[in-house]
Symmetry: C2
Subunit: 259 residues, 2 copies
């Protein structure tokens, strides 16, 4: 199993605090020693950092913690390998371009027989079930919508339908972004929390670290954090219902599908 | 204009020395202040670092210099913007997947009217001529070879033909990798150097730094470095002829096309 971390914000925001919590679970407070990765959306672009080394000991993870990259959408993942060996190409999040937009995907769970699903134009580079599922998903989206549909809700519903199809094969908690929205699908375990004014203090569960968000934010900031398990002990996280996909945009939940 | 740096090696090798030289040209000894990027192939995967900030001042560039990532193929680029504003999505190298392999591309030059070329399945995320040219190139390769050809030389010749077609539109110095080989195309300016035993000392032109490669290598290592302009003053670089594409594999020049 693995752990997921996502962020949606209405203004470019750093994720240093939550990322610090997650990284502890990569070999320190948690057993997720088999690499980690993070994708930051900035403007139309996206940059990713990947490391097959345990996050708690990773030089690159320390850089990401220290160097506050500001982003509106972030997807991160720490891995405990079940399928696919520990190497760079098996490290989430995975990225592909569709419609001239960078899409990224990170998955927690296992899917039976997913590699038998026929692929369209996207092919996996590594050997994980997760990347195969992502390639299948994007291929299906592209087959249905060679160009982005005018009504975004058509795309959202299609992604939810495809998610349900994959979910029947096992455990399919995921975070996905199309560069505009963040899609969070709960198969078994996923929680989220929206922070907005009045901001308070937050205390990490996994590290001795407290942040007073009032010092760090402006009154108009809206930021949602999504994680496999809540990262703070003193805030009210929403625990998602299995089968539900929630769509986040500009820091807030925009729509919910299923459940 | 921009500067390119590439490496091909027969064993995973770090590029710290050459990268240190290049980074000086990003705002210190050279005017290439508009961002930089680097792609490292590791196993079947590839990781990239991008920063729209000047390389001479970049926190991420310092990490890459310090943290010796070992790779068989590296492509790096420092940018002086002519077309396309300074932002993450316009920062080279660009990456796309084809045949389940990560392809990367970095370009030095300008191409007239390249954005009028019709694209296949790959679309640019940013607004540079370079990314459009890369998408066109990959789309054409995929149209001709939906699967990789058995005879690699057919692919190489096709890439050279496509390069000549683009070269007619202006200046098209580039580095390209299909995860197996490194393709270096000289339109106006590109040089390379192969280091092998007996190794000697190398002295950077752009920074006060000397490396004794005998201390850093084994007798079987073969490493080629490719750069817009030679990075060292005391070694014999091969200055490429305009119109020539040289293919590098496992550290050495494998084939030459055109010229």
């Amino acid at each position: 199993m693995c752990e997921l971390l996502g962020m949606s914000a209405n203004v470019p925001t750093d994720i240093c605090f939550s990322f610090t919590g997650l990284m502890q679970r990569g070999g320190k407070t948690g057993p997720h020693r088999d690499g980690w990765g993070i994708a930051f959306y900035e403007g139309r672009g996206c940059r990713t950092f990947h490391d097959p080394a345990p996050s708690a000991e990773s030089e690159i993870a320390r850089l990401v913690q220290r160097y506050a990259i500001k982003s509106r959408i972030v997807i991160s993942h720490i891995r405990r390998a079940n399928r696919g060996r520990v190497c760079l190409e098996n490290t989430h999040p995975f990225s592909r371009e569709l419609w001239g937009r960078p899409w990224t995907f990170a998955h927690n769970g296992q899917l039976r027989g997913v590699k038998r699903l026929p692929l369209g134009g996207y092919r996996p580079i590594g050997s994980t079930d997760s990347e195969h599922a992502f390639c299948w998903l994007l291929g299906r989206i592209r087959a249905r919508f060679p160009d982005p549909p005018r009504q975004s809700a058509r795309l959202w519903r299609h992604i939810h339908t495809l998610s349900q199809e994959l979910n029947e094969r096992g455990v399919f908690n995921f975070l996905l972004s199309d560069a505009h929205y963040l899609y969070a699908h709960c198969s078994t375990e996923l929680s989220w929390l929206t922070r907005r004014a009045p901001f308070g203090q937050a205390r990490l569960t996994d590290a001795d670290m407290t942040v007073d968000f009032q010092q760090e934010t402006t009154p108009n900031d809206v930021v949602t954090v999504i994680a496999t398990r809540p990262l703070t002990a003193n805030e009210a996280w929403t625990v998602m219902t299995p089968g539900v996909m929630t769509l986040f945009g500009a820091g807030a939940a925009v729509a919910t599908f299923g459940g």
